[in-house]
Amino acid sequence: MDVDKAGPGPGSARSRGRLPAQLRTLVCERAVLDRADGSAKWTQEGSSVLAAVYGPRQAKLQKEDAERAVVEVVFKPRAGLQGHEDRSLELEIRGILEGVIPLGMFPRTSVMVVLQVLQDDGGALSCALNAAAAALVDAGVPLNSMFSSVSCVLTSDRRLVLDPDASEEQAAAARFCFTYPHHFDLTQAAPAAAAPATSASADDAAAAAVVGESVLGTRCVGAFSSDELLDAAALCRRGCERVAAFARLSLAKSLQAAGGS
């Protein structure tokens, strides 16, 4: 698996010369909506998803659970009505969020996460999960750990390519989307940081994102061997490190801006 092979050449046809293991440009805007408790708009170049979080708030009688919070996810596609694919994505996202939110802390409440796809150029599920993470932080919902998500595809010549756009997804033999939990190790002093520092200059110690070993959720479509699956998991884990670093940077910046610095 030669992920760092330089492109473009006749072998790699990624648009604009993106390397196989290179993510697209990430942009995250927080506190985008007025009425929602928390909101975030996550853009990965051509794909953009707006997430809004309401909660924890009182759950409806039929839906409430006496012992834990209920997570509701609504995934709305860009055009047309919700289809089966959208409902299945809702279920998956709900599964991931239930693993991350400490449900036992809020009995009889509900946390509603609404995701609206604004533009879809590949990797919409990852984009949605990242947006949901940012929106949950914006809403101040406590989380067991942060998480980030990245997609990759297996091209027809059995090479793994990270963060595909729509044309790459269409042409792929298999598509993967992995979500990894991550946290930041603040116990290490800046110069002694063992892992490569991912944020260049920071007032606080340049804490490195430590991505967990276990996957929070995965969605794989297509035919692939088990080795390819493990390679994809490892590749996505590396990608999640970078997404995590970006998410932290963007949060720090928006807090600074909000704090009126």
Binding site: P8, R16, R35, R57, K76, Q119
Partner: protein, 503 residues
């Protein structure tokens, strides 16, 4: 108080405060009763959606088109359907699931105002009568509820329809048995035919119908006794009226509504047109970038896009005036002898459709002063010469020149050549923005002009591609391996474009 009432529940104190303030002609957010919040528009680059934000209300409308069989009783009309969804993210009161009656009412009003008033030409959507027509579907997603969802959804739907481009279609074979849909890279997609621009204005009624409040916020809606909506276009024609529930209106108050709505409609449409113009510039930039990445296209580029119609130097700066300003300054270095060359081409007149006219307008705006664009009169060339002599290239000077050009725009539009001889435009663009290849730029520009002279049909796509590559400062084979693609947007920043090129 359950969540379902979150939008209609308002405390007695708040209600009385709103009414008292209205008694003094003041509203909670400081507006006067007849002031509407100014809408802000945002369009997507894939020509399919528009987002309108009016105060804190945000609605995104998405247009999708599909070739379908028409309804049997209307064989030459394309159906146009509207769907409005109150997304649960917009308000705690909205619940997921099928649209409720409020959403359906908004969708119905939008349909009356945009489809039944004849604003969108449905016959223009016909491809093969009785067999295939374009079926349009507009989905309005309400993202944030800050009041007055009807007006903002209406405006979003209109903006999306104006920004939408449907793929160009060719019908061939006997009895139209073959329909070829051209992708946007091969043939420029076509805008819809829209006859007039209706705008909805909603008034909330207080005090037994005596007090009218335009564009209410959600708190004002909760405190109001009734509402009335008038849909008008800037030509002061009433397209649709909706007065269904709540307190009654006297005829005088109703006429007041209509008059106020007429005035607001003009302002809103002016803002919408301006936003669309700005979007056109960004569209062409994106088109250039897209064509740089698609190498395998056919060599006879006869029907291929109007590359370089919008001078990217024009696109980089926010205001069109400033845009045309940078171009004259940027192109000032170009030898003014070129101006003479192009004046000859001014005789070529083209019967063009709306879109090309609009594009030419832009091109003139942005690249006209260069003298390489369609110079309607040699007076323009003279101005460019002046700008050239002026070594002090500050924006004010250029801005003034630009504004003068703007004034001459209507005349120049008809005399303009260009269009199919896209090489000429690309040449103009090359003059405007080369970030580094000084000598090549000269070559590219004259090459482009010569292509212009050869005649419309001889412009090869490879040539255009080469010109575009030169502009981006990229060697013709594509970016070197490992190098990230030079960003065209970075290359065309006004400062860089001027300083970097042609010394």
């Amino acid at each position: 108080m359950s969540q379902r009432d979150a939008d209609s529940f308002i405390s007695k104190n708040e209600r009385e405060f709103i009414l008292k303030a209205l008694g003094e002609d003041v509203r909670l957010d400081g507006r006067r009763p007849n002031d509407i919040r100014k809408p802000k528009f945002q369009f997507s680059l894939d020509d399919r959606s528009a987002t309108v934000a009016q105060g804190s209300t945000r609605v995104m409308a998405v247009v999708s088109a599909a070739l379908e069989a028409p309804y049997p009783d209307r064989p030459s009309e394309g159906p146009l359907r509207f769907n409005v969804e109150f997304s649960p993210m917009a308000s705690p009161a909205f619940e997921p699931g099928k649209p409720g009656e409020d959403a359906i009412q908004v969708a119905r009003l939008i349909e009356r105002g945009l489809r039944q008033s004849g604003a969108v030409d449905q016959e223009a959507l016909c491809v093969v009568a009785g067999r295939k027509v374009w079926a349009l579907r507009v989905d309005c997603h309400v993202l944030d509820h800050g009041g007055n969802l009807l007006d903002v959804s209406f405006l979003a739907a209109l903006a999306a329809l104006l920004a939408f481009r449907k793929p160009e279609v060719e019908v061939g074979g006997e009895s139209g048995s073959e329909i070829i849909v051209h992708p946007p890279e091969v043939r420029e997609p076509v805008p819809l035919t829209i006859h007039h621009l209706p705008v909805a204005v909603t008034f909330a009624l207080f005090q037994a119908g005596d007090v009218l409040v335009a564009d209410p916020t959600w708190k004002e809606e909760a405190a109001a006794a009734g509402s009335c909506t008038v849909v008008m276009n800037p030509a002061q024609e009433v397209c649709c009226v909706h007065k269904a529930d709540g307190i009654g209106l006297s005829p005088e108050q109703f006429m007041r509504c209509v008059r106020l709505a007429g005035r607001q409609a003009e302002e809103v449409v002016a803002g919408l047109k301006k936003a669309l113009e700005g979007h056109e510039v960004a569209r062409v930039q994106a088109r250039v970038r897209r064509h740089q990445q698609v190498p395998g296209l056919p060599a006879e580029g006869r029907h291929v896009m109007i590359l370089g119609a919008k001078d990217p130097a024009g696109g980089a700066a926010p205001a069109p005036a400033a845009a045309s300003g940078t171009a004259p300054a940027a192109a000032a270095k170009k030898p003014t002898a070129a101006a003479d060359d192009v004046d000859e081409d001014a005789d070529i007149d083209d019967g063009t459709d709306e879109e090309e006219e609009a594009e030419r307008e832009k091109a003139e705006d942005a690249a006209a002063a260069a003298g390489t664009g369609p110079a309607g009169s040699s007076g323009r060339g003279a101005k460019a010469a002046q700008a050239g002599e002026d070594e002090d290239e500050n924006m004010d000077d250029a801005g003034a020149v630009g504004k003068q050009q703007g004034g001459q725009k209507p005349k120049a539009k008809l005399a303009g050549p260009l269009v199919k001889p896209a090489g000429g435009k690309a040449g103009g663009k090359a003059a405007g923005t080369s970030p580094g290849a000084g000598s090549k730029r000269g070559g590219g520009a004259t090459g482009g002009l010569q292509a212009n002279k050869r005649g419309k049909d001889n412009v090869g796509f490879d040539e255009l591609e080469a010109i575009a590559a030169v502009i981006a400062g990229v060697p013709p084979g594509g970016p070197a391996p490992g190098e990230p693609e030079p960003s065209l947007a970075a290359a065309v920043k006004p400062g860089k474009g001027r300083k970097g090129g042609g010394k």
